[in-house]
Structures are given as C-alpha cells and as structure tokens.
Symmetry: D2
C-alpha cells in the first residue's frame, strides 16, 4: 500500500506535511492523539483566553521546525540520512508524549517523583515495540546516545526546535506578540561543527532576541501572577484530594494513589496513558460538591475564575503578612483549622533563568573557525549575571 502523505493546517506555519509512513503511524497512535486533550499552557487561559492550544499542536509545530532545520542543514552539506531525518522527526513528535494532565502545572504532583521525560521514554519504548523497532534510532537520539549529538541538540538543547515552537506558539495564542521570535532566520543560520549544533556568526543578534523573548515570556506569561495562583490552586486541589482520599474515576484514582516506585509499572503506564485534562477537570467539577470544604472551595473558585489573591515580590514574605492573611480567614470562619489554613494561605517561589551557561551553551561559529559562547562575543548583551536563577517570592491566599 502506498502512502499518500497528509497536509495539516497550522495557524502559525501554514501547511505542515506528514510525508513518511512511520511519522504517520506515530501521529495516528492513540497515545499521540491524547495530546489533543492536554492544554499546552495549563491555566494560562484564565489570563490569556486565546491560550487554549494543545500539546498536540505544539508537537506538530516542533516537528515542522525540525523538518525545516534538517532540510537547511542538508542544504549546507551536513550528512543526515533519510532514516536519521525520520528518527529526529519522531523524536521531536514524541518528546512531550509523557506529559500528563495540565503538563508542567501538575508535574511531580500527579505522578509523584516521575519526570515527564521518563514517561515519554516509556511510551516511546511501548510504541517502538508495537512498530517492531521502527523507533530505535529515534530513541537513541532522544536519549542522546546517538553518535551525531547535533540531532539530540535539535530535540533538546538551548536552541532546540521545541523552544522555538513553544515561544512562537504561546506568543501567538496569548496575543503577547513580543514573544515572537525570528525562528526562520535562526533556522537559516544553524550549522554543525565537530558534530555539535551551532549558529553562524551573523545570528548573534537573533539569538539575543530569542533569549530576551524567552525571558519576557517567562515573567509576563508563564510566571504571570494570576497564572501562578491558578496553577498553585490546581496543585493543592490534587494534594488535598489525595490527602482526604477524595473519590474520582478509576484511572485518575489509580494514578493518584499508587506511587510509581512501589506498584506495577505497566499498569500505572496503562492508566496514565488514558488520562488527560478531561479527567482532572471532571474531578474538579465533581469535587465542588465534596463535603471537605477546603477541597470544595478551591474547586469552585478555580472553575469560576474566582481565584485566590496573590502577591509577588523580590523579598521573602514576612511572617506577619502570612499571619495577617490567616487571621482574616479565621475571623470570617472561626472554626477553620490550622491544617485547612495551610491550603488557603501559602507561600512559594517562582524561578527562572535567562541563560544557563553551566550545563549547555549556545555556540557561535565564527567565520575564522573559532567557536564562542553567546555570552562571550564582543559587546555581549547576554552576560554572566543573566546566568543566575532569579526567584520571586509569592503569597497566595483566599480573599474573604
């Protein structure tokens, strides 16, 4: 049977082509289709109503950029075989397949102690077995054990197609146009030197712009205080439900109450791949009527966008501020317990780094053959001081 190919409309890139039968089988797999039902940006849509795009749309977008990047490198004479190209495309398609409901927002909360990359690997292995090893190279690239490291760097690195797509896409759907990056220009300037992914000298200003766009998106969107409040409420809803043993649909129940290290891993994976945002949203809708008033309150508030108040600042939250917020609730509800208050008033830290220099770098290849990190070029905008992780402190509380 011949494979005719498929064209998908994308609001950002126009047409995305699926022109390989393995890619088509991966995209058609129920595990992949599940990504349709997971928001890319969790509850950011409570602030940016357009931001309801899905993990699947992002995955397809990153796949599209991967196709472009591979084509560009091939045009520049870098050897990439057809099998390697397919494998790199599959690797990027599946790089986020291990995300659970509300992805980052519930990472570590829903399935405790397991990172989504580990889940992605398990799911890829599962699909690989179904497809009789067709994903072997994709897995090697994903795991960074393949002998051409630049392929892994395209999937996951300081300048990977994952970031290029999510910055662009999140910017597009939120309407925060300042997050738009010149992805086509950056892709045109990618190159490979000694097996490593680099960018050409003239890309310096585009890279600076990319890093500054990322910085802006973090503080203005991903760590927007109202988004933070909503996502922290979600985390506490799950924690509270688990703590009091709140009932829910069997799949969600299984994942909530079985730790990954002690239980049947295969069963956990099976249950996990049936979960998406729908299950969690449905549980929250039901828990509005739960007898536990903390759980019910948090669920009703979140659903009706009647969110906890939040305050962000550079300095630690003063103990007296916390005490004052608790006192206000106690005045309105004299029978509230200290344990309940720990859900209704809480503090935390939002963190971001503009540019990490320690673990991975953005290497610039100069015309004279020398290689320097973006923070080491002449008159660099990106400096050592931006490599530090910046934390902002917040207090979040039920307003009474």
């Amino acid at each position: 049977m011949s494979f005719k190919g498929k064209i998908i409309n994308d609001p950002i890139y126009g047409f995305i082509s699926i022109d390989d039968p393995v890619v088509f089988r991966v995209v058609s797999h129920p595990y992949y289709q599940r990504l349709r039902r997971i928001y890319q940006m969790a509850f950011a849509h409570l602030v940016y109503p357009g931001a309801v795009h899905t993990r699947m749309a992002h995955s397809l977008g990153a796949y599209h950029l991967m196709s472009q990047a591979l084509g560009e490198l091939q045009r520049k004479g870098i050897e990439i075989t057809p099998d390697e190209a397919t494998a790199a495309k599959v690797a990027i398609l599946l790089h986020d397949v291990g995300h659970g409901p509300f992805s980052h927002a519930l990472e570590g909360t829903l399935v405790q102690g397991v990172h989504h990359e580990t889940m992605s690997r398990l799911i890829m292995e599962h699909i690989n077995a179904e497809l009789n090893g067709a994903l072997d190279t994709a897995l090697a690239i994903f795991n960074n054990t393949y002998h051409k490291p630049f392929l892994h760097q395209l999937v996951s690195g300081q300048l990977d197609v994952d970031r290029m797509d999510y910055l662009n896409r999140d910017s597009f759907f939120t309407g925060v146009s300042e997050g738009v990056i010149g992805y086509d220009r950056i892709i045109k300037m990618l190159t490979v030197h000694n097996g490593q992914l680099m960018v050409e000298e003239k890309a310096v200003y585009s890279i600076e712009k990319f890093l500054v766009a990322r910085r802006l998106m973090y503080w203005q969107v991903y760590l927007h205080k109202t988004v933070l409040a909503a996502e922290q409420m979600l985390v506490r809803i799950i924690r509270r439900a688990r703590e009091i043993g709140a009932g829910c649909h069997p799949n969600l129940h299984y994942v909530l109450y079985n730790r990954p290290d002690t239980e049947d891993a295969a069963e956990l994976l099976r249950r996990f791949t049936m979960l998406d945002d729908v299950d969690v949203m449905m549980a929250i809708k039901e828990w509005q009527q739960h007898p536990d008033r903390v759980l019910a309150t948090m669920c009703t508030c979140l659903l009706n966008r009647n969110l906890f108040k939040i305050k962000l600042q550079s300095e630690p939250i003063a103990p007296e501020v916390i005490a004052q917020k608790k006192a206000a609730i106690r005045q309105a509800h004299p029978d509230v317990t200290e344990e309940e208050l720990s859900y209704l008033v809480f503090t935390g830290e939002a963190r971001n780094t503009t540019y990490k220099t320690d673990d991975e770098r953005i290497n610039i290849l100069f015309k004279d053959g020398s290689v320097r990190d973006i923070s080491q070029v002449d008159n660099a905008l990106i400096q050592q001081s931006l490599a530090a992780t910046v934390g902002k402190q917040y207090i979040c509380y039920l307003s009474v």
Copy 2:
C-alpha cells in the same frame, strides 16, 4: 468602591477593554465563565488542530467589535446613550450563553427541541434577576423589542458583530487565512438610516468579500467532510447513549433523560448551566468500556480520531451504496443487527446558503439617499441564485 476596568489580551484584536461595572459582573458570572469550557467549533480541531478556541473567546471578540461599532456610529452622530451602549454590549456578550456542550454540533440533540437562543434568553433573565434588572435593556435589544432596531441588528443580523468575529476568529485559529474579513473596514462603513443598520455605498466590495469568505468557510471548514463525520458520530453517540440508557454523571444524565417540555424547567436550567464539553468528553471516555458495542466503538473511534469514512456528493446517495457499506460490516461482524447498522452506516445532508434574501438583507445606503439590497446593486456579484440553500448529500460509515 470604584471600578478600575480590566484589559484582556486577545490574539486577534490585541487589547479588549472591560470598562463598565455591569459588563464586568456579567463576564465574571459563573454562567459566563462556563463558556471557557465549550469549544467554539466542536470537533473542527480534528481537522484543524489550532481550532480549539472557546465560546468565551468568541463572545469577548464580538463584544470588542460591538464597542467599536457603537463608537463609530456615535462618531457619525447616531444617538446611542451610555445605557444603550452597555446594554448592546451585554446583549452580545450573552447572545451565545445558552449554548450547551459542543454547541451547534449537539444543538437539538442534547436538550431536545430547545434552541440555544431560548436558553440564552432564560439565562439572561436569570442573571437579570440577580442583578436587579440591570439587564432589562439588554434583554429588550436581544429580543428585538427595543425601539432602536439597529441595536438588535448589530447583535443578530446579516452583518452583525457575531458573524464578523466568528469568521475572523475561526479563520485565525484554523489557519484558513482566506476566511479573514476586513471587519475594521466594514465597521467604519456602518451607518443607521431610518433606525435600520446599513452600510455606506463604498462598502459594496467589502461586503461581497465578507459573503464570499463566509461561503468559503462553510464549505471548507464548517461543513468539511471530516468535521461532519466527527460531529455526526458525536450526535449518534448521544442518541445511542440515551436509547440504551447509558450511565453518566447526574447533571448530564438529568439533561439527557428529561424532556424540557414535561419537566421542572428551573431544575433543567440549573443542571444545564453546570454542563460543558468536559462532561460530554468524560462520558465518551467512560463509554469506551460500555458493554454496548455500538456505543463503545463510536466512542473509541471518535477519541482516537479513527473516524468513520464519509463521502459527499451533489446527488442523493444510491440505496445500493448504502447496502454495500452495510454488507461489508456484516461480513466482518456476522452477528451485527440492522438496528446496530443504522448507527454504523448512515446518510444525511449538509446545507448552506450564501446569502439569504428572504428574511433579512444587507442594505446599502447610497449617497443620493436611496437604499438597495446588496444583490440589487450594479454589476452585483451576489445574485438571486446564491440565495438558494445548497445541500450536499453524504454517507458516513464504519470502515472495516
């Protein structure tokens, strides 16, 4: 307490301002927030993955265009009081609040025999009571009993802000850029003559373009054959579930099994306003394991985007084609019943009209004061022949 106003980011229009306390209360109401959880385009995202935008985003967009249109008319000297302006804005915000899960796709299926406009009216009356009559004028405009008919025509007419927004928005999110309309130009050319909404003479080509964009969006997007297949599967899932008495969450259950004419209307409304896409999606997820194999099959196929095949044509579907599709299933599943087959092979008609001339018109106001319908101008593109409803016949079937 003073009202500070609120700005919402929209990917299409940039900033949308909420600058009126009544509007703010409406937008904050749980009945309005529910629209966040209803897809604007039901299952169109199975073909256009970006099209996951919500009824709420559309409603806010239409509200924004209403603000622009009212401002433009005021600049032209048309009298619109501040109260009328607020009322028109509230009317457009709530014009779709009566949509249930998957809106048009399940209209008439979920709540049998009740149109979403009726539901919108009931909900508006409910909120109006809560707000002590603050929505009286909005209701009059919505019901077209207000003495300035152009205000109703802005909410609902051949050239209302509802259509302007949904064409633009659906075009934007699907990536079908050809649906984009020059809404700003049309709004600049709106006027009122004898109390009726009209457009100025020079708008003729923009209006033609608007109608052609609408025609294109219907055939290319809303009635796209794969979208049709998915939505018809959804309709039959609900019908089958009701027929066999499939279990589901109490709110959905109540609405499924109580006809609006025979039951307690207040209770039905209460249950209805707690439903959104989540409830239906959750039911479909659960019904994948339902013992009724027809229901389970349809649910699994829909969730995994393993859709029934569909064929569209101008001529009626020949009986032998239907027989042949049924025979194929019978061969694979010899014990299938005729009643089951009626779910697995079915036919229908997709219908659209490019321009309705009978009930409502797009009136052009000429410089000499005369008024003509768009289909009556010199060298009209929009002609009588486009006023006929065009139907395309389809057959949809499980592929075995």
Copy 3:
C-alpha cells in the same frame, strides 16, 4: 568559480532564494536593477501612502511563487527539468522588464503604440544575446512557443504567479487587507492535465475568493477615483509636454519625440532602458516653472497632491456637467482657451472585468478526470454575467 547563492529578505514571503547562476546574472543586470526605480502602482501612493513598492519587489515575489509552484508540480510527478525550471523562473523575472516609467499609467502614452510585453521581449532578447543564448528556453516559454504550455500559463494566464504576487503585494503595501489571497493554498492545488495548468476540485472556493479579491482590488484600489485622477493628470502632463515641445533630459526627450515605428529601434531601446520614474518625476518638477500655464499647473497640482476633482458614475457624463465645469474655470480665468480647457476638464471610462471567459479560463480538474471551467461548477459564484467588462464613466476637472 562556484555560485554560492543569495538570500533576499521579503516582507511578504520571508526569504527568497536565488540559487542559480543564470538567475543571478539576470537579477544583477542593469536592465533588471532599473525596476527598482519604477513604482509598481504608479501614483496609488497618493491614496495609499504605503504603496511605494517597486516593480523589482513584485518581480522577485512572482519569481518566488514560481519556484514554489514548480516544486509543487514536481512533487506531484509532473516532469519539469532543471533547465525548464530555470527558464520559467527567468521568464517570470523578466515578464515586466519592458515596463517604462510609471508602468501601466503611462503605457501607450510614453512609447506610443508599443505594449510593455513587446518591450519585455526585446529586452529579453538583448540580454539573451549577452548571455549567449542562456535565455532561449525562457523566451520560448514567454512567447508561448514552448511545447509545455503550462509553463507559459504559470507566467501569464488567469491564474499565473504574476497575479498571485501582485494581488498579495499590492494588498500588503496598501493596507487593503481584503486583497490578500490564499496563494499558498492555490499553489498546493495546482496541477497539470493534458499539458494544461489546472487546479484541483477542492480549490474551487479558493479560486472564487481569488477572483473576488481581484475584483475588489480593481474597484477599491487600482481604479480608485483619486488614483485615476492622479494618473490621468500624469498622462495629460506627458501629452501636453509633447504637444508644446517642452524640454527635458535627452533620454526622455528622445523617447517622447520619436515614434517607435519610424525611428532607429535599437537607439530607442537603448534610451528607453535608461528611463525610470526618476526621469519623469524630475521633468515634472522642472515643468512646474514652465511658461505653459497648463503644463505648469498640472505639474504643481500633481506634486503637491492638490489633485483635480473627479466624479465616477455608471451613466455617461452629461454634456451640461462638462460645460458647467468649463464655465467655472472660464469665470476664474477669462482668457483660458478651449484647447487649454481640454486639459483641465476631461472625461473618460474606467474598465474592469471580474472574469474573462472568452480568451482564457480557470480549469478545474475533478476527481473523476473531467475538466470544467470555474464558471461551470455546481452553484458557481462566478457566472457568465461577471464575464462582461464593466465601465464606469468619470469626469475630472481643475477645481477653482
């Protein structure tokens, strides 16, 4: 010496690649570079200030679309050799190289009786001689003598890349966003059947949209009454200058006063290829001080955008209206002659056809292998009545 290729930034398409040495030589030729100094839309910028884009930008854009279209056809299995591809690209690059200053606006006025396509052919032959026949195939395609007619149809036909680019580009630079067409979608749907260029069945609505966009651009932009007035003033400036023997730079002078049929064709061509908008603009600037008051007035009015008034209507201009405009001028300037008045008050007709069915057609290839014209499909928007040329009458006059 190896050819490295060149990338050009375009505000519409992003990056345009020049990847062929023959294409590069053509683009570098002074005859081609001259197109930088000719407005694509003559004096449309008096109404749409952004519309100052050049013939060269349009030519490069059409070249880019040609590259895309050829690639798409090749992917569909249509045989196009590398030499044919280069030739088709060169043919589109040079299709407009014969345009003189202010292109269409002065067509037939500056070089009397010679169409720009004839000039393009002469210039192509000239460059071909310089390049030792490297443009032989390009010329055959341009002249429609090549044995694959679809290549000529891509250069010049109802659905050629020339129109696709100019509609898009003119729409982009004027800000009349309604002229934007779904060029990428149309290109994806191009095909070749029996050697003829066609579009696939599903393109019907996109083609309708394309024709309606073109109709809109004609009446709203190209034949905008103020643009018409400015361009008719320009035509009459040239006519008046020639009539009274006004002085100007030798190259312009030679072309103005030598008829192409009676003079040394090689010398005329040589002079012509040195002319561009600059020469005409400079002459107009100088003629502001010309003793002939008609010429001086028209030049000053045009430069300062103090344009003649214009009135457009369906019916012929009544003789008494003309008489009245002349009388008004005569009252202000009693010594004005009838001959002078013929420049200060004049009438004419603006003409456009939405869809020509007689000479060339847009053929739709149906899945069953049948071919029908766009005006013959089911429920066609494009009908016979749109094939008629529509004329609007205008009177243009100096306002005193």
Copy 4:
C-alpha cells in the same frame, strides 16, 4: 466650512484618522508632501528591497502613535487640553520635515553643518507664519520650552513615538520581523509623574525588548555592511561632485555650493524645500556620463547595485590592507591618482549605542511611587556596559 476629517490607510496600523483642521492643513502643505519623495531608509532597499517606504509614511505613523499615546494618558487622568493634543500631533508630524534628500545618509553632507532638526524648526516657523501662529504651541513642544515636558518627551526622547514607529515600520518593510516591538503594550503602560514621561513597572520586559529590538535593527539593518557601502558611496558622490563643480539642476546646485552660514538663509531654505530624492537620483543618473571618471564610476556602480566591497571588523583597519586595495586598483588603472584613490578606497567607523544613560533615561515608575532607570531595576538586562558606544571599523573599496 466644516471639516469632515480624513482617513488614511496604513499597512501597519490600519486606519489613521486626520480629525483636526490644523493637522489637515499641515499634512496638505507642499513642504509636508515633499516627504513623499524621500526614502525613510535611504539605500537600505539595496539590501532589503521592500524598504522603499517614505518619510511621509513614517511621519503619519508617528502621528498615529502620538494620538494613541495622548488618548491613553488622558484616560489615566493626565491633563492634556485639546490644543495641547493638536500641538503635540503637529510637532511629531513635522519633527522630520527638515530632512533633505536621503535624510540621514546625506545629513551634514548636502547642507553642510546644519542638522535636520534645525531645518525642521525653520520650516515649522515658516508654516507657522503662514498659518498665523497656529503652530506656536507645537513649536514650544518641539523646542522643549513648553511647561509640560512629557509632551516633548513623546516627540523626542528615549521612548518617543518617533522611535516606536520607525522600529516597527522599518522592521515591517524590510521583512526583518525581529525588529517588531510591542508598541501598543508600551503605549498602554505610559504614564506621567512629576511632569515627566515614564512607564509603569510592569512594562520592564517590554522596554527591554524594545531596546534589544533597536540594537538588532542597528546592527542588522541600519549598519548592515552593504547598506553602509552604498550610503558611503552616496556621500562621496556628493563630495566629489562639489569638489569638481559637477553641474546639476539649479536647486541642487544652489544647496551644494552655498554654505548655510554665509549665504541668504531664506533663499537656501526656499531651494532646500524644493529638493528631494528625485533631484539627487537624477543628478546621479546624469553624472554616469560625467568626464570625471571617479564620479562617473561611483554613480554607475551605485545605480546598477554594483557596489564597492566592504569589510567590517572590531579592530582598526591595518594600513597594509588599505595599501593593498589601492595597489590592486593601481595595477588595473596605472594612471589613477592618489586623490582619485581616496574616493575608491576609504575607511570609517559605524557606531551605535544600545542604551544611553548619560543624557536621557527610561524611567520606570514603581507601584510604591519610586522611580528608577531601566538599568537600575532588579536583575536588569540593560546594564551600564550597554551604555557605551560601540564602533565597528570598515574599509570600503572598488573591486577590480
């Protein structure tokens, strides 16, 4: 006679409204209309073919942003009278009216020793006299003698509407999409504190983005090496012409050969206001045939885009490199003089500063009422090191 207002289409902002009779008279003035014939970006179009937009389009765009900014400040309760608003709009419309042909590229070369702001002031005074003092306040704002300094800062400052428009516009027309700035967001966040223009705290990331976009546009576009080469050739064409007394049209001739300090200033101004790019382009076209071979060569090369080669570097150009380039020319043209060589091989420096902290600042108004410079906020991206002017050295030479 009542003033009806006028709407201008702009490809970037959509509709620009002229709703004030004084503004309308300014825009209609021949001195203003002259800006139609001056490229905003001189010869940048040799690299970015779309960048042929005019000073007038930029001026109208800045005017539009001024209208938006004033409206926003008024909404925030800052007192701006209708007269002040009109004056601020006129001031921005005319801020660049003193630019001569090719604006920045020939600044100081054509009219020696006079800055374009001085010329703008003289022209504004001239129009003011014509309009009987209607521009008094506009002049005071322009000259920064008005008692509300924030109005001047909107016209000219680190965050003025001039920069916002040119970054946006130049980015749009070049196709370097990375220069796009979130102008609407910045405008929404403008405020006035103690009479000074400031931005609110939450604008920090948008301002960073604005400064980085500006940095990128400088190095990637304005100081692009090929653009530099073309503009330096233009400067040397004018210098050479003046040196050898090359003939040209009387207006250009007068300006070339009369120093502003020694001659009749009124006559110089009169001549100057009749010059635009056309005069200089025409002279260059004529000088192609000039007997001075240096002048003729430079003119022919510039017109045919056969530009001098250029090399940019951080270090000074080594004397031996200069000598080597001169030797190459001498070998090809043994009779070339050292004086001629000074035109055919030359060096220089391109300079830019990312953020000037000495003279003017971008002040951030914090919620607690404190004011800090953008370089002083927490975790600032914009640091002291970016306040230094960065120079790159170049050598530019005729390639033989």
